[in-house]
Amino acid sequence: MSSEFSRQELLIFTISKLLAGVRHVAVGASSPIPGAGALLARAQSPKRMFVTVLGSTRQNFMTNGGVELFDMAAQGRVDAFFLGGGQLDGQANINLIGAGGEYPQTAVRWPGAFGSAYLYYLVPRVILFREEHTRRVMVPKVDFVAAPGPRDDGVYRPGGPIGLLTNLCWFSFDKTARRFRLESVHPGRTVEEVRDNTGFDFECPDGVPETASPDPATLALVRSRIAREIGETYPRFVKQVFPEAA
């Protein structure tokens, strides 16, 4: 990886590009990098763009209580959202509940499904985001399907994943073939590294390009205004990643 920008800055930049053209993006709890990416996309959007950062007071225009995000998603007013999971598999099933043992007494237990079992169906541009890219996380088959990937089951599903962003790479997801495709590998990372650390099968074209790097103007914007904006909700994150802005 280039020393000119950090791992987090690359992810923020990549996310902002995945949000191009979006009118409204919402970002869930404990998501400083998606939040910063969304705020960067808004800062660079030629048209009016709305960002909801859950947990924020300033970067959150909702006034109808906790249900509003979900109602908005159903109304078609949330264009993009981020989901992750303790486990993700090659069919884009995600597990936010637990692994090993017998539910509910699983060997490992995560906080819970949150809005995943709903937003995953309804938001047209769900970006799967999980920094840790290991075989522990990227499994052949999740132990518990908190939210299923796209399926041919007749269920109302105008939304779904467009891909998966990790510390190593960006995969797109083909909803018809129900398969991830390696689109780019981050600077300093290799296809082999991705393969070694992924427990599921994915499409791997010849000559995977490198993930685009942020230009200096964008980096300057991220380190000043975006760091300030996301710092309201995630002061500890900003202290760590943008010590000069904090």
């Binding site: 947990g55 906790g66 249900v67 906080p111 949150f114 809005g115 995943s116 079992a117 709903y118």
Partner: protein
């Protein structure tokens, strides 16, 4: 003016309004948690609660579980956020001491809205294909009777949630017992869905009538829904109250440290709950 019969002298007096076995609805940690009242509930030794996290719960659910007050937790998540694992929740779950009804946020909201309307059920999109459904026999899948004929459209029906008591902390009540809830309208939903509501506030503003203007009424929960109010200064501590005061980060780290073990948690209770140690 009528007498302020709704005003209790302390959180401990309010805690007596929450009977053993009650289903209580509580907001997420960011929406105003009645932590002093939670400590009072633990002091009084309430048992067999059914805690509904709206849509998730954090320190409050975790502490009630650790103190043995909870039989069932119905929630879309239990988390202390960046302050570490909810140790007592994980331990109780692993050892089968609590029953969990795992949900997804909009299902909790929708079921409470059904409770608010007192309709027996409400449909909701999503969910089908999630293993949550397999573990929620109370959720039913039906064919949408309004689907165009010849098309199949399965949809989940959720039974209404009507809690016994809604419990939260807010900045202030006015002279009539109307409570300022701002834009946190899930508090209106739980107050209406519940049979009664108990609220702790930073202060009662004797000079204020929230209903006097359109501007202030917009953020008011009417007194009709409120069964009891007590003043508890910094009553959300160690959590934040909206933007009014911040999370006590050091304290939460200390808590999550101690809550790793049953012994540590007991020590925490001794120091901060049974000792009635003042906030800060």
């Amino acid at each position: 003016m009528t007498t302020q019969d709704w005003l209790h002298s302390s959180a401990d007096s309010l805690a007596a309004l929450i009977p053993d076995g009650a289903m209580i609805a509580v907001p997420a940690d960011y929406s105003g948690i009645a932590m002093e009242l939670t400590r009072a509930m633990i002091r009084r030794g309430v048992r067999d609660l059914h805690v509904v996290g709206v849509p998730i719960t954090g320190l409050q659910g975790e502490m009630l579980i650790g103190a043995g007050c909870v039989k069932t937790v119905e929630t879309s998540g239990v988390t202390l956020g960046e302050y570490g694992s909810a140790g007592r929740f994980l331990d109780a779950l692993r050892n089968g001491r609590i029953r969990i009804k795992d949900a997804t946020c909009p299902a909790i909201h929708a079921a409470l809205q059904a409770g608010q309307k007192d309709i027996p059920f409400i449909p909701l999109r999503g969910i089908i294909g999630s293993d949550l459904l397999a573990n929620r026999p109370d959720w039913k899948v039906v064919d949408n009777p309004f689907a165009p004929s010849g098309t199949e459209d399965r949809i989940v029906l959720l039974p209404a949630i009507r809690p016994d008591v809604a419990v939260f902390h807010a900045p202030y009540a006015d002279l009539d017992g109307n409570v300022f809830i701002g834009r946190r309208r899930e508090l209106v939903t739980i107050a209406q869905a519940a049979k009664t509501t108990v609220v702790t506030v930073e202060e009662v503003r004797e000079d204020l009538d929230l209903m006097a203007s359109e501007e202030t009424a917009a953020g008011a929960l009417p007194a009709l829904y409120v069964g009891g109010v007590a003043v508890a200064p910094r009553g959300a501590w160690p959590l934040n109250l909206w933007d009014e005061y911040k999370v006590d980060e050091a304290h939460l780290k200390y808590y999550s440290e101690l809550a790793r073990s049953a012994e540590g948690f007991q020590r925490y209770l001794g120091e901060f709950v049974h000792a009635r140690k003042a906030a800060e």
